[in-house]
């Protein structure tokens, strides 16, 4: 086995590793952002008896998931109340964060996916995860903190592998 083939093979592996991390982090951020626009629409449907809709008006509830701008909640309502009760948390900042979080995740996810200023995008995504981690530390959600810690490791790995990034729209930054 020659050195050249050895290094070429390693390089290809590093390119693939970079792409996989990039795809994972982009998907994670985009879909998390989109889910903040998800809601459910409850509907009542006639119950079928003997294969046909019953004539009495008996209904069963059905819930359909749907996405809409009016469904948007950056910070889940249950967590929002807990954050508001924290003395270190400014309510004005919380409201701003609530508005920005979803769009920020989607924008950063798209820039990472398309390779637009990948390093800067990954850095900003890391900052975003740090801000989320701080909030979860405040309300003592240790499992969430650990979960975000795993995300941070992946962001750092993606930054380390950034030089092997391929198929990018803007290599600068």
């Amino acid at each position: 086995m020659s050195t050249e083939s050895c290094c070429g093979g390693n390089k290809l592996a590093l390119v693939f590793a970079s792409m996989l991390l990039r795809l994972w982090l982009a998907m994670r951020a985009i879909q998390t952002g989109i889910e903040k626009y998800a809601g459910s629409k409850a509907s009542q449907e006639a119950v079928n008896i003997d294969g046909a809709a019953n004539s009495y008006g008996l209904t069963a509830s059905a819930s359909v998931k749907q996405y809409a701008l009016e469904n948007y909640h950056g910070v889940p309502q249950a967590l929002m109340e807990k954050f508001k009760a924290e003395p270190l948390m400014s309510e004005a900042m919380l409201r701003l964060y609530d508005r920005v979080l979803g769009p920020a995740l989607i924008v950063l996810g798209v820039t990472i996916l398309l390779g637009i200023a990948s390093r800067a995008s990954l850095f900003l995504l890391g900052l975003l995860y740090i801000s989320l981690t701080w909030g979860l530390i405040l309300i003592k959600q240790d499992e969430g903190v650990a979960w975000l810690g795993v995300h941070m490791i992946m962001v750092v790995m993606a930054l380390v592998l950034a030089e092997h990034n391929r198929f990018t729209l803007l290599k600068k930054w």
Partner: protein, 448 residues
């Protein structure tokens, strides 16, 4: 909207003895009830008579029904009247006429089609009769009246004027109740022979307290006196006074005892009741009442026990339980209190489940209890549920039925005649409890 109704004479029916009185119940209401004749037009012009607690409940249910125009609101209490006007204005965008006096309203308002009567029980009959005689169709809250004579007057007025008169036993239009009676009890006979009925409405002391009011909003004494109230406390708490209402057995029990009579299709042969002022010592009506009705049905005898307790809420809320040799259907206006139990010896219901008539509930865990003696025990029944629910406020289907009947599109599910047949035995519960004697119910007790 103007229309006249066709009247089907039921003089023969009236003349029959107690056994015959149940004929309407046996035949099933829609077959002999009346619907208004005539073409439907755009709007039904409605007067709201009484805008207290129940008036608001009915208005909220009606606000979901298209094609209604609330033309006038009538209430002797300015506080209720203003509240009613505001709610109507919020719904339909313009202000209805407000009246403190029903006679003035009926004399002034032109073009009314229907009245919704939700005044205190002792005013039901006079108000309903006035409205019917003024040419309006009437939806009147139950209990029809505080006296059986008042209820009789309502039936006579309905039949004399030919107008529609729906009584607010709203379970009669509830899809869950109608499905249970027509498909499960009659159609598929899942109960086998019904041998017993058990019903209750248990309400905690905290929910049975006197209703207070802001003294600044009190009605003037002369106005109260004009409308039959001796003071503001009586106005707010008329349900606890003997001259103004039938008490808890009428307030709460009437809904459920109506279901006994409707489902069995016959009136009871006798009633025996016991009651007492166990907690609310100064109230005129009993705070707790227990009653046993005896029925003779084509399938055999049935005893029905009913209790209304205003002093404790334990025991599973409010429901009517039809107990048969093959199954028990415990039904309630609240879906959460409704359960169906198949006796272990009954034929399989797998076919009914697969066809959609019933839903199987999760099996209860088998108890491993040292205090159970096998020879004393029956096998635990399997639990099932109705296949669906009502997705509207519980009064809405009954009001929809009323307005459909006004438009000539439906027959009333509980007109005054059928409501009377079902309510008549209830008027004899308090007399039985007061005398501590059973009362054998005859045609004299039960007929118009």
């Amino acid at each position: 909207m103007k229309m006249e109704t066709s009247v089907i004479s039921r003089r023969d029916f009236i003349g029959k003895a107690a056994g015959g009185i149940g004929a309407g119940l046996v035949l099933g209401a829609p077959n002999i009830l009346r619907a208004a004749q005539g073409e439907a037009s755009d709007k039904i012009h409605v007067a709201l008579v009484g805008f207290g607690k129940q008036g608001k409940v009915l208005f909220d249910a009606m606000s979901n029904i298209p094609g209604l125009h609330f033309q006038a609101v009538c209430d002797i209490w300015d506080y209720n009247l203003k509240g009613g006007i505001a709610k109507v204005r919020a719904l339909q965008g313009h202000t209805p006429k407000g009246y403190a006096d029903i006679d003035e309203m009926l004399a002034t308002e032109k073009g009314l089609d229907a009245a919704i009567v939700a005044t205190p029980d002792f005013w039901h009959s006079p108000h309903t009769v006035k409205c019917l005689e003024a040419g309006l169709h009437v939806y009147c809250e139950k209990m029809m009246a505080n006296t059986i004579e008042g209820a009789r007057a309502m039936v006579r007025a309905m039949e004399k004027t030919g107008k529609l008169c729906q009584i607010g036993h709203q379970r009669r239009s509830n899809p869950r109740y109608r499905f249970t009676l027509e498909q499960l009890i009659k159609g598929n006979r899942i109960c086998g022979q019904i041998v017993n009925i058990n019903g209750q409405w248990n309400r905690a002391v905290s929910s049975s307290q006197d209703i207070g009011y802001n003294p600044k909003l009190a009605i003037k004494p002369e106005v109260l006196a004009r409308y039959g109230f001796k003071d503001m406390h009586q106005f707010m708490n008329w349900r606890t006074y003997r001259d103004l209402s039938g008490g808890p057995i009428s307030d709460l029990g009437a809904h459920q005892i109506d279901i006994f009579n409707w489902f069995l299709g016959v009136p009871p042969k006798s009633v025996f009741a016991s009651g007492g002022n166990d907690y609310f010592k100064t109230r005129e009506h009993f705070d707790n009442v227990m009653t046993i009705f005896d029925y003779e049905t084509p399938q055999g005898g049935v005893r029905a026990f009913y209790q209304v307790l205003t002093t404790t809420s334990a025991g599973g809320g409010y429901y009517e339980s039809f107990m048969g040799t093959e199954a028990t259907i415990q039904i309630s206006e609240r879906s959460a209190f409704t359960n169906i139990y198949r006796e272990s010896s009954a034929p399989s219901w797998d076919g009914l489940v697969s066809r959609g008539f019933l839903k199987r509930q999760a099996a209860a865990p088998k108890a491993q209890s040292a205090d159970a003696i096998a020879s004393y025990e029956s096998a635990a029944p399997e639990a099932y549920a109705l296949p669906g629910d009502l997705s509207k406020p519980p009064h809405q289907p009954h009001l929809e039925n009323f307005f459909d009947a006004v438009r000539g599109k439906a027959a009333l599910t509980c007109d005054a005649r059928h409501a009377f047949e079902s309510e008549a035995p209830i008027y004899w519960v308090n007399p039985s409890a007061l005398s501590r004697q059973p009362i054998n119910l005859t045609a004299e007790h039960l007929s118009v």
